[in-house]
């Protein structure tokens, strides 16, 4: 097969170094940039002094942004009004979890709901907030909360037990409404 050579026009390389004109142009651009930064700094400073900020900054952790209901923070367990968990330890979240971060040991109770988790651990260092546990749950017992502050100083601290995970149902109502609306049940 015969080879054919073609010539492609390439853009001219930008000259390095340059004339006095290019130097001056660059210096002017630098001053312009500094002026923008300083203008914003002074305006914010003035607003801060007058206590009327003109720009939007959330002063975390004193201020917090309200998350929308579709937001997925760490999964928590729903606590019923009688103080017990709604979970019946059916194991579907454990099965659905792609990172295997949930560990459940079921046990029998004397209540009308005869089964509950004796152990319900979530390894938060593995959880990736996908929400599949919430979607799999047939009892609306595990939901994604708005809590994202789950840092810990040790590996052990990233392991959350049932007692730490229980959140009263009244605090989780918006999210429960959301999953009822959006998931096919």
């Amino acid at each position: 097969m015969a080879t054919r050579t073609i010539t492609i026009a390439r853009p001219r390389p930008v000259p390095q170094g340059g004339t006095l004109g290019t130097w001056l142009f660059g210096f002017r651009a630098l001053l312009k940039g500094i002026a923008v930064t300083n203008r914003h700094f002074l305006r914010n400073l003035w607003g801060f002094i007058r206590r009327k900020p003109t720009v939007f900054t959330v002063q975390y952790p004193e201020q917090r942004f309200p998350f929308p209901n579709a937001f997925r923070g760490m999964p928590v367990l729903v606590q019923m009004d009688n103080g017990k968990e709604r979970c019946v330890a059916c194991g579907l979240c454990e099965w659905a979890c792609p990172t295997d971060c949930i560990t459940i040991y079921p046990a029998e109770t004397e209540d009308e709901i005869e089964r509950h988790p004796d152990v319900f651990d979530i390894n938060m260092s593995r959880c990736m907030f996908c929400g599949l546990c919430e979607e799999a749950c047939p009892e609306e017992a595990i939901v994604m909360s708005h809590n994202v502050e789950i840092g810990a100083f040790s590996r052990r601290g990233t392991l959350w037990h049932k007692e730490d995970l229980l959140i009263p149902v009244s605090q989780l109502d918006p999210r429960l409404q959301h999953i009822r609306r959006n998931y096919d049940r």
Partner: protein, 533 residues
């Protein structure tokens, strides 16, 4: 033989056979609840209805004998509609218990409900309220709401155990499964009713609310609790046994197993397990390294063998060893010139169904491997009492359980070195000079020979803790220290040695044993695997 056509597939089957088993054996799945391969035909669930050409209505496949030229269709709209109708009626009163039901995941009602069920109930009436969590026996729980009245369990207690504990009481839609007040379901085979139950109405107390079945991994094995060698499946997860289930083998246990065998797995998960070799120093048993324990045992054996040509050594083998391990033990003892060997076996009650008197899985195999010589346990104890035995090598707990305690303790006081090889801490181990921890049936592979001489395979189900040696490895390492042979133990290779050395096992290979076992005397009678239950 009559020839029939099912869904266009031509099938030859023996005359008089029923349509459902013929279809199942030929890969045509017809949904069914009340039919069970080992029970009589009831025809109460109506789920297996199929279309037969020439018949004005649909017929139930489980109770329709085949005839030559029969044309059967199992996937027509009429059949599918009927299945949907039957499912709807079965689900009218079935509670929505799946999240808390132990059967979920292996429940026929759940499976067929996905295939033929409706997502919405059309009934407005409340579901029937009946007794839940009713204790009907020492090992069984009944949930009457979940029952679909297929009567498999009733037929089981009538036909297999012949104890008649369970029955369906009342009539029509008041029918309810129950026991008579004064007769609990307490027979030796009661947990089989949980296996035959297609839903979660009957549940084993032992497995109640323990684990979801879909997490369980399954390994084929043989029950080690008596000489019958029932085929089982070990269900394990996170290196723990959670339950044991019977596996179909028409030549041994059909589809059943006894409660004692089924619940006899706790010692495997026990916290009393011996995990490290122990050595007696200054009168105290102390943990030590494997090398130290083995070289101590080997030097005691070697010394006694050199001084008295093996006459001062006696061995009591365990009937819980596999054939391969027993064979290796035999090699070790022959090398030392040991003349007094026996297998100690616990003997208990037996019945004509499955339970055999010898309460260990491989007593026959150990004897077949030549571990019986020189008058047995009484002769060993007598010789020890006279001070003729310097080294006594005991495998397993059976010697302690079968011999008179006082006599045994007096005898053991005369022995210079007692080597005990066992899986759990025992009174015998407390008196030993060297304790070698070994593995249970679930942690090793090998073969067992049952009371009828059938050789069957065990597969390793769970992983032992790192560094733990099995019986075969212990014998091999001791043998290596004494004869400088290879210290490794490969069950498959040892089986090859057995096939050459033991005449009754000539020509035996793992392929011949397969999943259903091999009968050495009657030739290859391994039955083909039957339809799934």
């Amino acid at each position: 033989m009559p020839t029939i056509t099912i869904d266009g597939q031509t099938i030859e089957a023996p005359a008089g056979a029923m349509l459902l088993p013929v279809a199942l054996e030929n890969g045509v799945h017809i949904p069914h609840y009340c039919w069970h391969p080992k029970l009589s035909i009831d025809g109460s669930c109506r789920m297996c209805q199929v279309e037969v050409e020439g018949s004005p209505k649909l017929v139930i496949a489980c109770n329709t004998p085949i005839r030559d030229g029969m044309v059967v269709r199992t996937k027509t709209p009429a059949v599918e509609n009927t299945r949907r109708g039957v499912m709807e009626l079965l689900l009218v009163n079935h509670p929505l218990d799946c999240p808390i039901c132990d059967k979920a995941g292996e429940c026929l009602l759940q499976d067929y409900s996905y295939a033929y069920g409706s997502r919405r109930a059309r009934t407005r009436e409340p579901r029937r309220k009946l007794e839940k969590r009713k204790e009907i026996g020492p090992r069984m729980i009944l949930d009457q709401e979940r029952c679909i009245l297929c009567r498999r369990c009733v037929r089981f207690t009538r036909e297999i155990t012949k104890t008649n504990e369970l029955g369906v009481f009342n009539m029509g839609d008041h029918s309810v499964l129950d026991i008579l007040e004064d007769k609990p379901l307490a027979n030796d085979y009661s947990i089989n009713t949980a296996d035959v139950c297609p839903v979660g109405a009957l549940e084993s107390k032992d497995f109640h609310h323990k684990l979801r079945v879909w997490f369980l991994k399954k390994t084929e094995s043989v029950c080690p609790s008596c000489a019958n060698g029932c085929n089982i499946t070990v269900h394990h997860y996170r290196d723990r046994i959670w339950r044991m289930m019977p596996r179909r083998n028409d030549a041994v246990n059909d589809t059943w197993m006894c409660d004692h065998g089924r619940l006899n797995y706790k010692h495997v998960n026990s916290t009393d397990r011996l995990r490290q070799p122990l050595l007696r120093r200054n009168g105290q048993l102390e943990a030590c390294e494997w090398n130290e324990a083995l070289s101590n045992a080997a030097s005691a054996l070697r010394q006694a063998a050199r001084d008295t040509a093996g006459r001062s050594i006696a061995a009591v083998a365990s009937p819980h060893l596999t054939n391969e391990e027993s064979f290796r033990f035999g090699q070790l003892l022959r090398n030392l010139g040991v003349g007094r060997i026996d297998v100690a076996v616990v003997v208990g009650k037996s019945d004509d169904l499955l339970i055999k008197a010898e309460k260990a899985g491989n007593a026959r195999g150990a004897r077949d491997m030549g571990l019986v010589a020189g008058g047995g346990v009484p002769a060993i104890l007598e010789a020890a009492a006279k001070g003729e035995i310097r080294v006594l090598y005991v495998c397993g707990p059976d010697l302690w359980q079968t011999t008179d305690r006082q006599q045994l303790e007096q005898t053991l006081a005369n022995v210079d070195c007692l080597i005990v090889q066992d899986t759990v801490r025992s009174p015998l181990a407390e008196r030993a000079h060297v304790v070698l921890p070994s593995l249970t049936f679930a942690e090793k592979s090998g073969t067992f020979t049952n009371v009828a001489g059938r050789v069957q395979q065990l597969h390793q189900a769970i992983n032992p803790p790192e560094g733990q040696l099995g019986d075969g490895e212990i014998f091999s390492r001791l043998l290596a220290q004494i004869t400088e042979g290879p210290p490794t133990f490969d069950p498959a290779a040892v089986l090859g040695e057995i096939a050459q050395a033991v005449p009754a096992y000539a020509g035996l290979t793992l392929e011949k044993i397969g999943s259903q076992g091999w009968q050495p005397t009657a030739g290859d009678t391994s039955a083909p695997a039957g339809a799934s239950v």
